[in-house]
Symmetry: C2
Subunit: 323 residues, 2 copies
């Protein structure tokens, strides 16, 4: 098995495909002080990439650039092998077409040294199916970002059946090293984690519009003025941990578990077995890291206030006419 | 039909039931400069209510108090008729037990004048079923808040079959007048809107834990570090409007519509008919209120930056040891 590089020795990365996602990745890598070598088959790739980086740079500057970050520190190559020559990592962000991804990933694996990990931005495919034509699939890993990749920290990392476990570990460590928030999944499942959750909500919303139960704007208002205000700080599990009062998730499941039988959405809930209950309770306690319910409530309230103040500040700024 | 009062003439309101939700409502009403008369059967109701108000007051102060707001401007009554005497509005927040709600709402309707609207905080029942024992159900309306009611603006308003349409309208106007964000629903559906959406996500999350596909902490991280960062600013519909690039929701549905057939969640999507597509596209355009895709992207990015900065500020504050 390969010896993957130390993170600090990776100074140049390749971005393969520079649409919205790939260009967003490029901007992010540049903001971390890395050099970017890009490849994209479109004739105006360089202009498009420059425009994407220019658009993202003010946001990246506001969040803080790494030392040596330079938005011009990139080159665009017509030749794939040239684009990946000498890089320490590759991020593939080609269109979501399976055959295209399979072909490209096989070519990338062939064109890179045996210690170069290749992350794919795919939102829909598993690496097992994408890697089937690669001679060496051991370094191919899914590294699924969220749009826009230069602002949303989440990256979901999962290998395929033929991926070296150490390559998956390396990818998770690398994304973390450059400042992303990483979830390393043990199993390939369609939609990974965040998209499955988001998609369940979205499908229920489509059903509601389809049945005349809510308008598009009511659905958005229900989230932005409601549970959405809690979610940047505490996810759905910790949110319900607090809904149980001082008894936390255990009290919540004991008292509101029966409501899982209610037709509150078209998605049926799983049977709330003793094991599932205990898993959820234990998970909440672990995630709380010793914080009491009262401490979590205080953090939630401080978070909602900060978010509401930030939103009010933006509205006030938007209401000021441009000079 | 009754002539409901002008909003500015409502200076005293009743809070019936002062648990977490009712107490949160009381704190919110006080922060708006209103006088509160509370009723609760528990012997230590006054102490409990005072503790809830004291806990909420710093947050309410941070968000801005109305003129004349006074956290001591409440009384607690052992007699229900006394608690609602002379009030201009009643918020009922009793436990979620149908018979108890039916009985209490009937008594409240009997004890109040014919121009006093009574809002119920129920999260699970429709007003049609809750109002069946009331002699005059015309002023009984659901006004469903989110926890904590003093911080989350959303209130979902929906009447029952016997509710006067003007009472529902009045309730929506009243909640809006005191600073809440109101959704007025045309139809009673289980879970209203926000809970249906939140519950779909939660049920998918439970399935994932049940199947060992994700841990509790991974589910929360997937939201807080991912789509959750967009949701205080733009709901799921506008979020996907932007996922379509310059073509907006139309492009999104044309290109990603087929992914609704993918097993990305256990909830099956509705058939994406031409009518449903058009309804969603039209809804997004209406909600955008003339803002171009680029303007919406700029607002989204500014929002995510503001939220991330606010979250970073909170973490930094939490890391500072208390003096």
């Amino acid at each position: 098995m390969a010896n993957y590089p130390e993170f600090k020795n990776v100074t140049t990365v390749a971005c393969v495909g520079v649409g919205t996602i790939g260009g967003g990745w490029a901007a992010y890598f540049l903001s971390r002080g890395l050099r970017v070598q890009a490849w994209d088959p479109s004739p105006d790739a360089e202009d498009k990439l420059r425009a994407l980086i220019d658009a993202a740079w003010p946001a990246l500057t506001a969040l803080g650039l790494s030392q040596g970050a330079d938005k011009d520190n990139f080159t665009v190559h017509a030749d794939l092998a040239e684009a990946v020559a000498g890089v320490g990592f590759v991020q593939e962000s080609a269109p979501e077409v399976l055959e295209l991804k399979q072909d490209l990933l096989a070519r990338l694996a062939a064109a890179t040294a045996e210690d170069v990990v290749i992350g794919s931005s795919t939102s829909g495919y598993g690496m097992t199916e994408m890697a089937i034509t690669a001679a060496d699939p051991s370094r191919l890993v899914v590294g699924h970002p969220f749009n826009p990749p230069y602002l949303i920290p989440l990256v979901e990392v999962v290998g395929g059946e033929a991926t070296d476990k150490k390559a998956t570990e390396w990818a998770s460590g690398w994304y973390d090293y450059i400042g992303k928030s990483v979830i390393t999944m043990e199993r390939e499942i369609p939609g990974f984690i965040a998209n499955r959750l988001q998609e369940a909500l979205w499908r229920e919303a489509l059903h509601m519009v389809d049945n005349g139960e809510a308008t598009v704007e009511q659905i958005d208002t229900a989230i932005t003025e409601g549970p959405g205000l809690r979610w940047p700080l505490q996810g759905p599990m910790l949110t319900f941990h607090l809904a149980g009062g001082q008894g936390g998730m255990k009290h919540m499941l004991d008292h509101f578990g029966p409501s899982l039988k209610s037709p509150w959405t078209r998605l049926e809930a799983p049977e709330l077995t003793a094991k599932l209950s205990q898993d959820v309770i234990d998970g909440c306690n672990e995630e709380a890291h010793g914080r009491s319910i009262n401490e979590l409530i205080a953090q939630r309230d401080a978070g909602i206030i900060a978010i509401r103040q930030a939103m009010a500040g933006l509205s006030a700024a938007a209401a000021v006419p441009a000079p």
